[in-house]
Symmetry: C2
Subunit: 455 residues, 2 copies
């Protein structure tokens, strides 16, 4: 493998150029910006790397999926899941350089999507280029699934995968991209949380009404405040009847895994600028809550007059947006029903649940999957430090759709670091992490080949 | 008095022209629009009616106060409290004709301020004109206090009145303007509620943060939802410690007065377009709650993402605007302290109370004041039906400042009707109510004179 690593070092500038090329092309799914162009650009880059590539239209959207395939020496197949879309770049005024005009400054590369997750796409192509340049061909087969709607919740992916199981059949899947921690240890993440998003709405008088009528006219903002109070108590316990019924307790291996995680309370506090974390999240509870507990979160709420000064009204309407992050085996559609029944039983049948609902279940790959060991061993080799193996992330992605359609183990590795600012202004990666990420992908391919051939 | 009434009938068109002239002149205190011009116009109209008029600057604002004085046959003096400012006309697109281009259509006059309360100013001037035209002079002295900041909470009036007690000294005060009910009975209103407005604010992370962190990062919208829940329960009981301590129970006469009020539940429901009123406001409770109970009302609230679709964040900040309508003898500044102590005791010392606070105490004139009888008797005479005597309105006005500085009884009469749409688009009055309002003011002046002279 030393020859592969040397190839990577020697072609560092070329790989950075590829990265800049891909990041220069805007691809904002939420704004319908540059998606076909990006798919076309990627088609070229993948073909140049020797990968048989197809642009597959996906029913119901203009964002196609890229399918890539490269035959290997063995029938074992590794699937890369990635997405070519990025988050909107706004607020533009907070960027120190234009988000789609990539800038290298010292050890850092700045661009929208450079970490999430174009850096990972380019790193994976670079690893294949380096490996095949040295060894002629890869020891295992490679597939790519690169979608263009990840940042808007992958609304069409579940059905698409059900319809194209054979095309993406694989023995293991490397997820879109994680990061190293501040100590330079790679985070290998084996799962995602699920999500359910709802909007609650209460209505009062037909129009905003003089607040002297608050004596006799129901106030929709009060209705929501009281309804919310029945959903979660100040000690953060979710009170919806049956909410925790299907929560699968962490396995012994998963519980043991979080015991080994470094405490990051203080870093989270500083990163987020909160004066203090939740009292219930102190000490070891930090990781248990963060990874294994579902949430009931208020994303936004609005009612009545919110401008400067005073306007005394009973508002016409009040709305609150909630998201629930779910853990295995909670099911979004089941919890939606439980929420409705809970509100009714608590006397809030007047509070409507809007239709704008997004649902994805959680997914986790077992800690003892051989693939986890293969990814972890190679990480230690490349990064020179033992990786951190996290049973799940606290965020959500379409991993369950992959697990459900293809039944493969999934592990997440990548080129980010704690200050990569994904989804935020001045997204960036460090060049060294990018190079290590390329080497690690090559090392994984090599190790999978050795194991597949029983060496 | 028949000659006075005949004069009013015969000069109906002239009085309507005066009304149109005054309503044509915008005077929006919230927008600083046309206030000096309106004071100047009124100065002319009052002077033309024989009233010695002065425009008095008021410290701290550009909205002067008009002082008017007319000597009478006796030393008894009646004070008219009015305001020349009006509510903003917005939303303009909901007006069927321009708000400051008065339009007479059949029996209705449409214009911003025509009911609240320029119609009353013109009716009072018209009554004086008619009375003096017939009798040469009024039997009692008349004073006018016309301010220009009522619609923004009369922030400078309290001090102004303390500084000018002698100038406005009077034996009784006719308030700015009430209305007849659907049965054509005049509402004579003897009091106002007080008010306290506050904004509560909670803060979370330094910027909106990915909602996967809801596991460990405090959410300010949840903090406010829980804090609100400690302020009022779903049965509408206000839970702030000591909130009801100073509530003076209604007198026997006040309680008896609301027993005589017509039930208006169904009309309120239809007017406000609410599917149903509060369960606690059924039957006789409707009036007791509406007039004698203080409120704790949410005027508005905002936090996080409130646009279309989904954005999963822990919001940076959450704010809620509350208004409390107060009854005698609650004091705004006392309740502000109680609110702070309540939040602290309930574990919400992190919830800040903003500085933008408006406070006015409640005020009531005793039911057995002779002035009430004088106004009521003349109302029955002019309207042909017994008036409705309400111990208080549910809304707020600076009546306490008058009561406190001048120690006079105050009664509210006026030219409105239930569909006058004050503060709303298409504000209007009926010509017949305007004419009856003029006659009633003349009748009050006459009656006060008779009583003053012991006739």
């Amino acid at each position: 493998m030393e020859r592969v690593y040397r190839y990577v070092e020697e072609h560092k500038d070329k790989f950075l150029e590829d990265l800049i090329l891909l990041c220069k092309q805007p691809s904002v799914s939420a704004q319908g910006l540059g998606l076909r162009e990006t798919a076309q650009l990627l088609f070229g880059m993948m073909s140049d790397t020797g990968i048989s590539t197809t642009i597959l239209p996906i029913s119901g959207t203009d964002c196609p999926v890229l399918h890539g395939e490269l035959e290997g020496e063995s029938s074992y197949t590794l699937l890369f899941y990635n997405h070519y879309d990025v988050q909107p770049a706004e607020p533009l005024e907070e960027w120190l350089s234009p988000p789609f005009d990539p800038r290298i400054e010292g050890d850092l590369v700045f661009a929208r999507g450079v970490s999430d997750n174009k850096g990972n796409i380019v790193a994976r192509l670079a690893a294949i280029e380096a490996y095949t340049a040295v060894f002629g061909r890869t020891p295992v087969g490679i597939k790519f699934l690169i979608e263009g709607e990840e940042e808007v919740g992958s609304p069409h992916l579940r059905k698409f995968l059900q319809d194209h199981k054979e095309l993406f059949k694989a023995d293991a899947c490397l997820w879109e991209g994680s990061s190293v921690n501040w100590d330079g240890r790679l985070n290998i993440i084996l799962g995602v949380k699920g999500i359910l998003c709802v909007e609650l709405e209460a209505t009062g008088p037909e129009t905003d009404t003089h607040s002297s009528w608050a004596t006799v006219v129901p106030n929709p903002a009060w209705r929501l405040a009281w309804a919310l109070n029945t959903l979660k108590s100040p000690d953060e316990r979710i009170l919806i009847d049956g909410f925790y019924d299907d929560v699968r307790p962490p396995t012994e291996a998963e519980s043991k895994a979080i015991d080994g995680l470094p405490l990051e309370e203080e870093q989270t506090r500083q990163n987020d600028g909160t004066s203090q974390l939740l009292a219930v999240a102190k000490g070891r509870e930090y990781w248990r809550r963060h990874l294994f507990e579902p949430t009931c979160n208020i994303c936004g709420m609005i009612s009545g007059y919110t401008g400067a000064g005073v306007k005394t009204i009973v508002p016409r309407v009040a709305r609150v947006k909630l998201d629930f992050r779910l853990v295995p085996d909670q099911r979004p559609e089941d919890l939606l029903g439980k929420l409705r029944r809970h509100l009714d039983r608590q006397g809030f049948s007047d509070v409507r649940i809007s239709d704008s609902i997004e649902g994805e279940p959680a997914a986790r790959t077992p800690m003892d999957s051989p693939f986890v060991r293969q990814v972890a061993d190679t990480a230690e080799e490349v990064y020179g430090k033992p990786p951190i193996i996290m049973p799940t992330m606290a965020a959500t992605g379409p991993m369950a759709f992959i697990r459900e359609a293809l039944d493969t183990p999934v592990a997440d590795t990548g080129v980010g670091y704690p200050d990569s600012r994904i989804h935020a202004p001045n997204e960036n990666i460090r060049v060294d992490d990018f190079i290590r990420g390329i080497k690690h992908v090559a090392a994984i391919i090599h190790r999978l080949g050795l194991d597949a051939q029983g060496k």
